[in-house]
Structure formats: C-alpha cells, structure tokens
Symmetry: C2
Subunit: 326 residues, 2 copies
C-alpha cells in the first residue's frame, strides 16, 4: 500500500472563509510548525518567539540578550519589570534609529504588557510597534456595532481606516477596535475606543454585551502577531450614525450581512480584523453548518490555543534537555 | 538562576469555570501529552487513538488489526467502507459478549461515521458505544432553549436525564442534545431531537439560530471522547413548557442564569454538557472578562483543535520515520 496519508483531506475543497482563516493564521499553520524561531525567555519563562532575522540583530547586544541555538534569553541580571522594560526599550530605540525593521518606523509611545498568559503577572512592557519582533501575545478589544434593520435585516457598521494610519491604511475594518495597552482594563478600553472612534455615548453603551474572544496567529513582513481580541456586540438604533473623534477613521458605512461577507473576502479588508467579523457572522447564524461544510474547522481556527502555546514550547525545551534560562 | 519555568502560572488561581474546563478536557490536557496511546490508522490516515488496555484486546485479532509500537492499523486488505465497518463490528460484538469493556454494555445499534475531519469522506461506521475505545471524533447537536423572562431576566431550560439512561443517568443536562448518527445532517438532527426530547414544534423551531461549535477532549473510565457539538440557540416564549416524548428525560426545569452557573458547577451536571452551557453564558455576556480573569484561556478550552489533532499526530509519525500503513 502506498503512502496516501493526506488524500482524505483533498476530498473536500476549502471554502472562502476557510481560506481566509488560513490567511490570518499564516504563522499558526505554517511558520510555527517549521520550528525555525527561537523561544524568547524572560525570567525562566517563554513569552514569545524570535525569527532568525531579528535574532541576528539582538545578538549584537550580548549584555541584554543571550542567544542560544533554541532560545533568546533576556539577561536575568535585570531583576524587575522596570529594569527589563528600560533595557529592552533602549535597544529598540537604537534599532529604530538604525531603521533595521519597518515595524519600528511606527513607534507608538504606547506599551503592551509582556507575559505568557493573559492572567499572568506582566514581566515587562514593550512599545506596541515592537512586540511583533518578539512574537509577544497581543490583546485588543473589538465592538461589533449592528442594527436589526426593519427592511434590510441584520446590518453591521464597518469603518474604513484613515489613509494616513501606519498599519493597514485605507483598509476596511470593524466599527471599533483598539489594543489593550498598559494600565487599561478590557472594559475601560472598550468604552474609551467606542467614544474616540465612533462617538458611542454612555447611553448607547448600556447595550454593550461581552460575547467571547477570538485568537489567531498571523505573520506578515512586519513580524509575528499572536493576537487575542475580546469581542463585544452592540445593538444600535437604526438612526444612529457613528462619528469619529480621533482622526483615525476615513468613513463609516452600514452594510448588510451578505455585503459584509463580500467585504471580508475582498483584499480591501484588514486581514487581522476578519476573525472578529467571522465570529460575529457565526454567532448570529449567517455562517452555519448548512452553508459551510468545514464549519467545525473554521470555528477552531478562530480560537487557536495561544494561551497554552508558549507553555507547551517551554515544556518541549525541557524535554530536549536544553536549559531555558542561562 | 534556578529553574522557575512555571512560577508565573502560579500567581493566578484557577476559577471555578476553568477547573470545569480542565475536567471536560481531561484527556486534552493530560493523557494526550503523555503520548501513551497508539494512533488508530485506517487507509493510511489517522482517525483515532487507542489506549494500551484496548490495544491488548485488539492484538488478539491479527487478521483485523495490525499492532505496532506506535500504531494500530486496520487491515488494509479491507478495501471499502462496508468491508471495514463489517469487520470491526464483528470484533466489537465478540468483545461485547466477552464483557471486556463497560462501554459496550450500552450497545446502541446506532452508528457514528469514522473520519479524521468532519468534512472528510467517512472511511467506515462504528456503533456509537464503541467509538470511545478508538478515540474517534464524535459530533453532536445541542439546543440552548432560553427565555428572556420579564421578571427573572435570562433563563435557561435544563433537563434532568432519565434515571434509566445508560450514560450519566439522572444527571442534569442541556435542554436538547443528540449525537450525529450515520445518515443524519446537523440541521435534521437538531429538528429530530428537538421534537423527540422536548416537543419543539416547527413553529417554535423557526427561531432556531446556529451559534457555532464547541470542541473538547474528555477521558473517562469508558474511554476517550474527542467531541464537537454544533450549538444552536432557541428563544422560547415564557409560557412554553418542554414535554419529552422518548422517555429519555426525567424532568425539565427553567432556571435563571445565576442558578445555571450553580448547576454546572455541581457534581449533578453531566460533565460533557458543560462546554455548551459555558459557551452560551459567554456569548450572552454572563461570564465575561470582568468576572473571569482567565477569560481567553476559558474560551480556548471550549474550542480545542480537534480537527487538526490527528493530522498533526500523523505528521509526527512521519517525522519519526515510522510507516503509517503496513
């Protein structure tokens, strides 16, 4: 009998949604399996992954990073959160000056916490433009603003991103989305972004409903993006129109559910915002087991196991007899 | 520096829901990592996992099963679906007579399809009482019947299982749930079970809304249960009362959201029905990032990657240089 290990998988063709799920999980389904990245270790714990191109640059700072065949370890002499954060920041600012990585052009002066799992104590903070160089898990908040329209049925508010934004300029996006930066809780971020991005008043926000999370692992030319989004639904009155206050939005548009499908399948939609929309369309019955033959696979690719990813890699290092913190 | 690879994880205590998620993922989080099971291979493809206690018995049928250090392979001489199904059935019926495995006491004369992923062509069928001996992925359908009660707020219909059921007798369970047996589609199973278990009329079922899937991997003394449930929500009028028609239900009870939380945390609830309820409570904002500090982890444990599980194991066998089909 010949080797036909994958032939059953070829019997079913990939749907458009599944292709999209493979696109926003480009690292989870490809790079991660190749095991070409080094574990990024802080205080004996894996918190990220470093690509070879980044490792080369980090190895020029031996007082800050210890590079080994399977890991890049932050110097354990840095004893606390502030010391670790300051030392990494000075390296990153030097790299930014040297124009080594395109992502650092978008330096934000806004930091993300660095830890293995969401509920862990943060070990350091890092500018949000730099976390993709270390494969640090990012967290964000998304609000699906929707209308049960008397004529058109379920409609969703989408935004077109400002043409001057550093990432994904001019692309279509979810109505409201924002990263969870240092010092801000999930619910505070939802309210802050809702007000800044779409002028959602406290009165409208009373209907805000937590609806879960999506998680996926995307890779682009900028770096690695293991991302978890806290998802909220907000039913809006048919006459409400979002207005932007922070100049980060080109325009808003209310589109039907079927037009939303067209938009996310087009190249004009921000790839990493598609999981939140697909999750919304699944939870509201628009994408369902009758129209999506690979429905269970699609749902799993909206919830890839990022919280256990680095814990597992950490165990693998141990199994291989490699020391994690040197 | 000493090895402190897991100390950050100890900083946060497990919530009650997370403990429950570890319970219904007992195999995913424990047994699976130990790699003590053999891959079950049919037609060159992994479709399951076999525990050592089961392997011993299967090795007594060398014309049907080829046992190797890392795999149990169904004899490739069986060329098609019917031949494979018939040969496995005759072995299982003999084992049932010999009273070798408690799960076979509950022989159902109702078969599940056997394949790696949901969308794959089935390779054979197997009585549903036996699939846990081979770690075959099971699929089912669940309906969350709920009421937006004018006084009590969100309420959920729960059923107490019949005291004479072969599995989980007398335990509390979701309003309607049923396995996806050979020849039945997801939506047909939802309608059939809705009518049989709770007398849901076609008129009431017009509100049925597909809401996603949950996936988890449970192990009990009966065997291995990699399970994916197709989840539906059904809003019911406050005056509707479900009536059972198939004698599989002891009674129904309409409980508030907070009482539902108490029920699923009690030992009187069927462990493997908790994921559907937790998913409902998350989608409806009852469990949220403000009251569940480990929210992203909980959501991920409701959607563990079963569709890619055996594909990956299959690749591992290849990497280890072991032949899959002999």
């Amino acid at each position: 009998m010949n080797d036909s290990s994958t032939h059953a998988h070829h019997h079913c063709t990939m749907s458009k949604f599944l292709k999209l799920a493979h696109k926003f999980n480009s690292f989870y389904l490809n790079g991660l399996q190749k095991k070409e990245c080094r574990a990024f270790i802080v205080d004996g714990i894996q918190v990220g992954l470093v690509q070879a191109t980044v490792t080369i640059e980090l190895s020029r700072y031996p007082n800050v990073f210890i590079v080994n065949p399977n890991s890049v370890t932050l110097n354990p002499a840095f004893r606390d959160y502030d010391e670790r954060s300051a030392n990494i920041e000075s390296v990153l600012k030097e790299m930014k000056e040297k124009k080594l990585f395109i992502t650092l052009k978008g330096w934000r002066d806004e930091c993300y916490e660095v830890r293995t799992m969401f509920a862990d104590q943060p070990l350091l903070k890092m500018d949000r433009s730099a976390t993709c160089l270390f494969g640090i898990c990012n967290y964000g908040v998304d609000i699906n603003g929707y209308v049960n329209h008397p004529q058109k049925g379920l409609c969703i508010w989408l935004q077109q991103r400002s043409l001057t934004k550093q990432t994904w300029p001019g692309k279509w996006d979810n109505m409201v989305a924002g990263g969870l930066s240092v010092g801000n809780s999930v619910i505070h971020t939802a309210h802050k972004e809702g007000e800044e991005e779409a002028s959602l008043t406290a009165d409208l926000m009373k209907n805000l409903q937590s609806a879960g999370t999506v998680s996926f692992f995307y890779e682009s030319e900028r770096g690695l993006f293991p991302d978890t989004e806290f998802v909220f639904d907000l039913e809006l009155p048919p006459d409400f129109v979002p207005r932007n206050q922070d100049n980060e939005v080109e325009k808003f548009e209310l589109v039907t559910a079927s037009e939303t499908v067209n938009r996310i399948l087009s190249p004009d939609f921000k790839t990493t915002s598609c999981p939140v929309i697909i999750d919304f369309l699944i939870r509201h019955g628009i994408i369902n087991p009758e129209n999506e033959p690979r429905f269970p696979e699609l749902v799993e690719l909206l919830h890839v196991p990022l919280q256990s990813l680095y814990k597992k890699c950490d165990e693998m290092l141990t199994e291989n007899g490699l020391s994690k913190a040197q």
